[in-house]
């Protein structure tokens, strides 16, 4: 790019420079030649005029010492030649009354002789009545012509020197113009090589600075995208790893017990016990499958929005909770600050969300003096639902992983099996909250309790 620009600009420069130099030199030459011609013509006229006057006087006086008139004239011209020799002028006269060839055209021209250099020749007949005489005037213009040549050469050399100077200047100017581009090129190469954190320092306010700003924005965008893709891939991998482990454990039991039943001689007690394990683990796998299916259905799901009365919702949730854990001593409180409070959403999803959160709270609580509070508070354009418990709380470290599929706070699989949970509850809750464009935040303190806040922004 830089080299192309350099060549193009430089060629254009040379074209303009040398055409101007040629034009100037042609003009100078022409005007000089014209001048020389005019001068010679003028001189010729003057000489011819004087000569013809002299001849007329000679003719009138009959004053010539030569056998013929013609020779007398030639003699006269010789004396002229002596006079003009210091001006480098040579005159020749020819009498065409006595010459047996036709006189040449009268003309004015330059000619070049190897021994005498450049001369300007003027030929013309003398004025009447002496027009049988042709006067030839020859002036040595070598010095003038050489002077012209020298001028031309000086012009040419100057132009060449200037072109070299211009080439160097152009190179440096282009380098400084292209420097930011080189910086951008270097940065993009590094980004292409995987260093997505690379940025360009923006200088000035010209177009290139704008390009740099845009470039930086693009790089930032790419970096963010890559980061989010990596994050997503990591989450997926995590999910697959967790899932594999989650499936392998029940399968180990199921296969093991089936193999045992297949190969050993069993008592009735053995059969019942083994089959019960197989059934338990199968049920657990079924729960996992159901939850996963539910999660998959909720991906990009458009909930069927209806207006739900908070009072009715709380009533339903309370009923379900009492039905599922009739003997629990954990106290459940439902509070709604305004009987007209409503939220917009798909009723069964919202109910399942609240039930999930209540069940989680129930698991966290001390069975003897646990308290769970479910609140609805009207805000300006939204309703805030809060589920608070006074249970064991969640540590800072766990709080970050709590939405990961199959992540469990209670690591004991025996209790998990007994509770029927598969470790997807909060993941499901998050999905439900997301499809409703609501926001969920969890705050917790170890041994003090946990509070889950959901703000439904839909009016």
């Amino acid at each position: 790019m830089k080299i192309k620009t350099f060549i193009a600009t430089y060629l254009l420069f040379l074209l303009i420079l040398f055409s101007s130099v040629s034009i100037v030199s042609v003009y100078l030459t022409n005007s000089q030649v014209d001048m020389i011609k005019n001068k010679s013509a003028g001189q010729f006229q003057a000489i011819a005029h004087t000569l013809s006057r002299d001849i007329a006087m000679m003719w009138g006086r009959g004053d010539w010492h030569h056998p013929t008139f013609s020779e007398g004239v030639a003699d006269r011209v010789r004396s002229y030649n002596i006079y003009y020799s210091n001006q480098n002028i040579q005159l020749t006269i020819r009498d065409f009354n006595f010459l047996d060839y036709d006189p040449p055209e009268s003309e004015l021209f330059f000619t070049h002789y190897a021994d005498a250099g450049y001369r300007i020749i003027v030929r013309d007949f003398l004025p009447e009545p002496f027009d049988n005489f042709m006067l030839e005037y020859s002036w040595d213009a070598t010095s003038d012509i050489l002077g012209m040549r020298e001028t031309q050469n000086i012009l040419l050399i100057t132009a060449m020197v200037f072109s070299v100077v211009a080439a160097i200047a152009l190179y440096f100017i282009l380098s400084s113009i292209f420097k930011p581009l080189n910086v951008i090129a270097g940065a993009s190469r590094e980004i292409a090589g995987g260093q997505f954190g690379k940025r360009i320092k923006v200088q000035g306010k010209n177009e290139l600075a704008q390009v740099s700003v845009d470039f930086n924005q693009m790089a930032q965008r790419v970096e963010d995208q890559i980061a989010s893709l990596e994050e997503e891939a990591k989450n997926k991998q995590q999910f697959v790893d967790n899932f594999a482990h989650e499936i392998r454990t029940p399968l180990t039991s199921i296969y093991g017990y089936a193999e045992y039943m297949h190969k050993a001689a069993l008592s009735e007690e053995d059969i019942i016990e083994s089959a019960a394990y197989i059934m338990d683990e199968s049920r657990h796998m079924k729960n996992i499958a159901n939850s996963l299916l539910e999660l998959a259905t909720l991906r990009d799901y458009e909930p069927m929005m209806t207006t739900i009365s908070i009072n009715a919702l709380f009533h339903d949730v309370m009923q379900s909770m009492y039905q599922s854990t009739p003997e629990s001593k954990v106290q459940l409180f439902f509070e709604n600050d305004d009987d007209n409070n409503t939220i917009v959403g798909q009723e069964d999803l919202i109910k399942s969300l609240l039930l999930n959160l209540c069940n989680n709270a129930m698991k966290a609580c001390d069975p003897n003096n646990g308290i769970i509070k479910v609140d609805a508070v009207k805000q300006q354009t939204s309703v805030k639902l809060t589920v608070t418990d006074n249970g064991c709380g969640i540590s800072e470290k766990d709080l970050q992983k709590i939405f990961e599929p199959f992540y469990r706070l209670d690591k004991s699989r025996n209790r998990i099996l007994a509770s029927g949970g598969v470790g997807l509850g909060l993941t499901l809750c998050k999905r439900i909250v997301d499809v409703h464009n609501a926001q969920m935040t969890i705050t917790s303190q170890l041994d003090k309790g946990t509070s889950v806040e959901i703000i439904f922004t839909t009016p």
């Binding site: 180990t252 039991s253 093991g256 045992y260 297949h262 190969k263 050993a264 001689a265 394990y277 699989r413």
Partner: protein
């Protein structure tokens, strides 16, 4: 018969291992977390510990590091990463079994470790038949029973995997080896001859659609 401690937090797996080991005559104690291992060690002495790695309170690695007595230990875990295996073996474990495991594989590995520590049975008695594993001799009553090497291997396999149904294919593999091109009828012929020589017509049962099983009354401790 060996006395084995099973430390595994999952009830289903723990019970499964116990059932399997009891079949072949071992006696087992089950604990469900790392700390309970030491309580059990105080109460009994064991020939072998089957140790899960991911357990509450103390994980398997910690248990192994804290063990003072030199008891053979086999790790039994879902963690299949090479690093975990190497770490387990470096810490002094005698074997490392990755879940899910095969019943016969588990038996075989336990048997191997026990033999290494000279804790495996060298004799086995059933009814009036006495088998001397080390001497490779079998007596019925007082009289020596003449067995071919393959027949002895077969009876040994049955004894070690007693109460477990062994398919004909599995028996071919265990007794004759992978590269044996024979028919499964070879197994039938040998089993028939064993039954006759030892008078075990009712001990070696034919299991429907499977193979054979040596049935011995379970020891109850």
């Amino acid at each position: 018969m060996a006395k084995i401690l099973i430390a595994e937090d999952e009830h289903a797996i723990n019970t499964l291992i116990k059932k399997n080991l009891t079949l072949v005559g071992h006696s087992c104690v089950c604990v469900f977390d790392g700390e309970a291992v030491f309580d059990a060690l105080e109460a009994h002495s064991f020939d072998l510990i089957l140790l899960d790695i991911m357990m509450p309170k103390m994980d398997g690695f910690q248990v192994l590091e804290a063990l003072i007595e030199r008891i053979p230990v086999i790790f039994l875990t879902a963690r299949s990463a090479i690093d975990d295996r190497v770490k387990g073996l470096r810490l002094g474990a005698d074997d490392y079994i990755v879940k899910p495991f095969d019943m016969l594989e588990l038996q075989a590995r336990i048997e191997t470790v026990l033999r290494r520590f000279n804790k495996a049975d060298t004799t086995f008695t059933l009814a009036d038949v006495k088998i001397d594993m080390a001497g490779q001799q079998v007596f019925k009553g007082e009289s020596f029973v003449e067995l071919s090497p393959k027949e002895f291997l077969l009876i040994e396999t049955f004894v070690k995997n007693r109460n477990i149904a062994l398919s004909r294919d599995k028996l071919l593999e265990m007794v004759w080896g992978y590269d044996f091109y024979g028919d499964t009828r070879t197994v039938d012929v040998h089993v028939h001859s064993l039954r006759k020589k030892l008078g075990w017509e009712h001990m070696i049962k034919t299991v429907y659609k499977t193979g054979y099983r040596l049935e011995v009354a379970k020891h109850e401790d």
